[in-house]
Each structure stands twice: as C-alpha cells, then as structure tokens.
Amino acid sequence: MTQVLTKTHELWLTTIMASFMTNNIESRQKLNDFSDIIFRHFTWIEKNLVKNDIDYDYNRDNIPIKVDNLQVIVNNIISRINEIRLMLPLLEDEALSFRMSTDFDYMVYALSQIEDEKVNSFDGNRKYKNYNLSDEATDAFTLFLFEESYKEYELIMIYNYLRANSKDAYLNRIFKILIDESFFHLKSFCLMMSEMGILAVPRVIHKSLYKIDNVIKFLQDGIEEEIAAKEQCKDLSDAVAKDSQELAKFFDFINYQENYHIELMRDALAYYGNKSFMY
C-alpha cells in the first residue's frame, strides 16, 4: 500500500504542475480539479496506512516535467494513472479502490480530450507579464518563488502528516485551514514561475521535517518562520513597488495572510499547552 501512496503522490504533483503549464483556462481548470481529487485519494490511502499501523513516508522519485508540448505531460499523467490502476488491488479498502478506479476512468477520458499547446513554462525568460522589473528585483523575485514554492509544499505535507496522524477535531480544523492556505500560495507562486519560464517541482522533503517528535517546538519555530516570511514578502513588495504596483499589492496581500496563519498556530500552541501533552 505504501507504493500506491508514493505513486499517487507523484501523480498529484505531475498533474498540479501540468495545470500551471497551460494557458487554456478550461484545460487548467480540469487539471487543477483532477489534481485536487488525486490529492484527496492520497490522503485517503494515507489514512488507511495509519489505520492499519503501517509505517510510511513522503519520499518519492524526482519528477521530470520539462516538456515543450502539453500533450507530452498529459500522456505522462495517463501513464502514471495506468500504473496506479494495476496496483489498486493492493489497497485493502475496496470502496476506495472502486472510487479511484472510476475516477481514473473519467480522468483518462477527459485528459485525452485536452487540446495540445506549446508550453513556455521552462524557457527561462524571467519576465513577469509586461512588467519591466530591474535585474535586482527580478533576481529577488526569482529566489523568492523558488524558496517559497518549496516552503508551501513542505507546509502542505507537514500539516497533512499531522492531520493524518491526529484524531483531535480541534487541531485538525486548524491543520486543514493551514493546508488550504498553503495550497493557494503554492498555486499562486507556481503560476508566476510558469509565466517566468522557471516552473519546477519542489524538492523531496526530508522525513525529519514531518515526522515530528515535539509539535510544540515545531509550532514555536513555525511562528518565527511565518514572521520571517512576512518580512520577505515586505522586502519583495518594496523591491518591485516602483516597477509594478500590482505585484507589490499581491505580496502585501500574502504578507497580511501570514498574520492569520500565525494566529492559528498560536491557537494550536495554546491548545497543546492546555492539554499538556506531547504529540
């Protein structure tokens, strides 16, 4: 079952990355929706592993996504789906296996209807829309997107792991909000990376980051990191402000969203403190 989890993880990332490559709104929506469904498959398989007390991690292969045409990555997604299909009998949960199988039937059909188009997500142009950013601002923007797209993926996986391994409804509500928020940030940053021709799959996360012994320390460190991320957003907003008010406003918007994340993490921290237990 752990192999199905890993393959589903890889399929999810391939599909969400493909959604950033297309300029066709309908294709993007379809790929985006499918990636969300595949992520849910991932969480359901994970829940089964937890239920059956099977050890697992989020290790996976590196995923090559550099293509010139959308059809190539779409065909790759279909191949990955077909590979997982063969493994579905390994899932002991028949209802989940049936659900995934029928989802895959429709996905393969719908994916085969997607029109081909040229992909510019890897041309390295490092231009964002028509904005004429200075070299310094472009470099700061580039580094920010690489650092933060990884960070958001990392946060999704950490909170997902905590959520999968907790039965506490109060905490799980907080973790779910933080996962959803990181999804929005990941999607926003990856779309920008695609526009700049530097789209990349975030690197594999080391297991020590999500197999956490001390959640209280993790939350305390996480609050510090969120405060640092706010500073990065502010610095970037300042760096691009004279060339693009739209970008500056976007990074201010992200910056202010971090305030609520910090409050949620403080809430979780207080809850852990009150319960006086270690995860």
Partner: protein, 149 residues
C-alpha cells in the same frame, strides 16, 4: 548568486538530490546557528565514490551548492574527494558569507561521509558523523550511533 541559465537549472532540477537507501556511508554538515543541515549519502567501491546523493534542510543557495559540488564528487576516488573538499573550503573567503556557509555545509557533509566510511572500514561499525560549520572552517565532530537518521 548569479541567476544565469546554469544556476536556474540547478535550482529547478538539483543534481543528485534525494537519498540512497543502502548507502555505504552517510555524513551530515550542519549549521549550529540556525539548524540547517545537509545530508550526503555515498556508495563506495574500491575506494571510489560510485554514487552520491544529498538532501538539504536548508535554503535554495545550499541546494545549488549541493547540486554543483556533488556532481564534482561523483566517480572520483576518496583521495580526490579529500582534495575537492579542501579546495572548496579554501575558496570560501572569496564568496559572500551566506553563500560560504552553504558551500561549507555541503563540503563538510561529504567529508563527514568519507571520514565515516574510513572509520567504519577499520572498526566495522557504521557511524554517521556530523561536522558543524564554523567561521574558521575547522570542523568540530560529534558521533552519532548507527548509520541512519
């Protein structure tokens, strides 16, 4: 960091990124100031590095340094690896402090892995060495039982 196409490629697709489950040796380079670390995995045959992988719990600059330096360390002898580490550490004065810390962490992780391999060859016991970066670049070493995380 100069964001030319080559560096962007290392950022997008870091070479040798990941882990080797049946590594002959694992070494860790760590920044004690912020807890960032680089973990290097080696497969070694006849005193030669036949496979290398790394993981970074660190910033993108460290990932780029890991991608570049581990490429250099692939398919070379342990003796050449010592030279590579020495050359890398010797060049740190010429780069900005943050970038120096990143390269130092990668070089020390490789050194920890090769030193650990030599020690285990003598003692028969696998240890994962952790070398901490310092401004003087002289590693202080700690020992951790077992060859795993």
């Amino acid at each position: 960091m100069d964001f030319g196409p080559e560096i962007i490629e290392h950022m997008s697709n870091p070479k040798n990124y990941g882990r080797i489950d049946d590594a002959d040796s694992i070494g860790i380079g760590e920044n004690p100031q912020n807890g960032e670390k680089v973990i290097v995995y080696l497969k070694i045959k006849d005193e030669k590095i036949t496979d290398i992988a790394f993981e970074a719990i660190a910033c993108m600059t460290t990932v780029v340094a890991g991608s570049i330096i581990t490429q250099e360390a692939r398919d070379i002898t342990l003796e050449k690896s010592d030279e590579l580490v020495a050359v890398t550490l010797g060049m740190l004065d010429n780069v900005p402090p943050e970038e120096a810390a990143c390269s130092e962490m990668v070089a020390l992780a490789i050194k920890a892995a090769t030193d650990g391999y030599r020690m285990s060859s003598q003692s028969g016991k696998k240890d994962t060495l952790i070398y901490k970066i310092e401004s003087s670049c002289s590693p202080e070493q700690e020992y951790k039982e077992g060859n795993g995380q």
